[in-house]
């Protein structure tokens, strides 16, 4: 059994990690909306990835969906830390979904675009961390 204090600390850490991802995804969303990803100012790899067709769906940047996902993960982790048992299941689901999406985007960068964007790699690292927490978290509540 996991103690409520330990659970609280565990999910507070998960919430803080999600916040870092939220900041990253929000920054990328703003960059897209200001058109910065369409200009030379960053590295060529940045343009290759963030200026590619994989970086947006119509006029909506995928980073925007990422921001929503990170915010959801943050919210569920926070509620779990405060003892809302149902939130834990939602947190686990969204983290696994983010993990699968991250694998897809890593594939796209490595094999289709042959370029990596450092913000995307940072986001991938955050998702892997969250996934590690989910795997490591004691199942019993």
């Amino acid at each position: 059994m996991i103690g409520s204090r330990a659970r609280s600390i565990f999910y507070t850490i998960a919430a803080l990690i999600s916040l870092a991802g939220l900041a990253d995804a929000t920054y990328l969303t703003v960059q897209f909306l200001t058109g910065e990803t369409a200009l030379c100012g960053g590295s060529p790899d940045c343009f290759k990835v963030l200026g590619s067709a994989y970086a947006h769906m119509g006029r909506i940047p995928v980073a925007g969906f990422g921001a929503i996902a990170y915010f959801s993960a943050f919210s569920f982790a926070t509620f779990t830390a405060f003892g809302y048992a149902r939130a834990r299941r939602l947190f686990v689901w969204i983290v696994w979904a983010m993990f699968l999406v991250t694998l897809w985007f890593l594939f796209v960068q490595a094999f289709l675009l042959h370029a990596f964007c450092r913000y995307c790699l940072f986001s991938a690292a955050i998702v892997f961390l969250l996934t590690g927490l989910v795997v490591a978290s004691p199942a019993s509540e």
Partner: protein, 222 residues
């Protein structure tokens, strides 16, 4: 109280995130650049080069500040050339150098284009440099590649070799850069359509075509 605390925290983070995003958006949003008539390319003097494709009396002018090593500029070079063909004789295109300091070979490439221009082959070199961007951008010895491009275009290579290092070529590039800086250009590509800069979000083939189409329709043939 503790029961409501997570709602407060989540709400506060939502407000903070949205507020930061709006503040960041406002800070990063580039200003709308416009060109007054006296600063337009047609009225330039001195060392500035004028590279124009299309009829001088075309009602629509697309003016680009570009960097040959900039990938987004390279990605737009083909679509702009296609626009020139599709909207001829109603569109003219003007190119200005704006080599960014972050690109190792950009200035040398601009000088290569000017050296080709001194033999009346600026646009051929312009197209070739953009087409081969991924090759020479990563090359250690770009000069050999540029010389071979000059040969491919049928230029006098010995003259090209001298001209690329000439003060005239360098001055033209510098003058273009100063011209851009005076207009507020900071990034590349910066594209003016009839003296008004396009929004960076419109710098993709689809939106650029739509903007040109709208400009052409707004100026019907007299």
């Amino acid at each position: 109280m503790r029961r409501f605390l997570p709602f407060v925290i989540v709400g506060a983070v939502a407000i903070l995130t949205l507020g930061s995003a709006v503040a960041l958006y406002r800070a990063k949003r580039p200003p709308v650049l416009t060109m007054s008539g006296d600063r337009a390319a047609a009225g330039k003097e001195g060392n500035e080069s004028i590279h124009v494709r299309g009829r001088a009396d075309a009602p629509v002018t697309l003016e680009e500040f570009g960097d040959f090593q900039c990938p987004p500029c390279g990605a737009l070079a083909g679509p702009i050339k296609q626009l020139e063909k599709d909207y001829d004789p109603r569109l003219r295109v003007i190119f200005h150098h704006f080599p960014l300091i972050t690109h190792q070979h950009a200035r040398e490439a601009a000088c290569a284009a000017e050296a080709a221009g001194l033999q009346n082959h600026f646009w051929e070199m312009h197209d070739l440099l953009y087409r081969e961007q991924s090759v020479w951008s990563k090359a250690a010895d770009v000069r050999t590649l540029f010389n071979s491009y000059a040969g491919m275009l049928g230029l006098n290579v010995d003259r090209f070799k001298k001209d690329i290092d000439s003060d005239k070529a360098k001055e033209r590039v510098t003058a273009d850069q100063k011209h851009g800086a005076a207009l507020g250009v900071q990034n590349t590509p910066t594209i003016f359509l009839n003296n008004r800069a396009l929004d960076p979000t419109d710098l993709n083939p689809g939106n650029l075509r739509a903007a040109v189409e709208a400009a052409v329709k707004a100026k019907p043939p007299s």
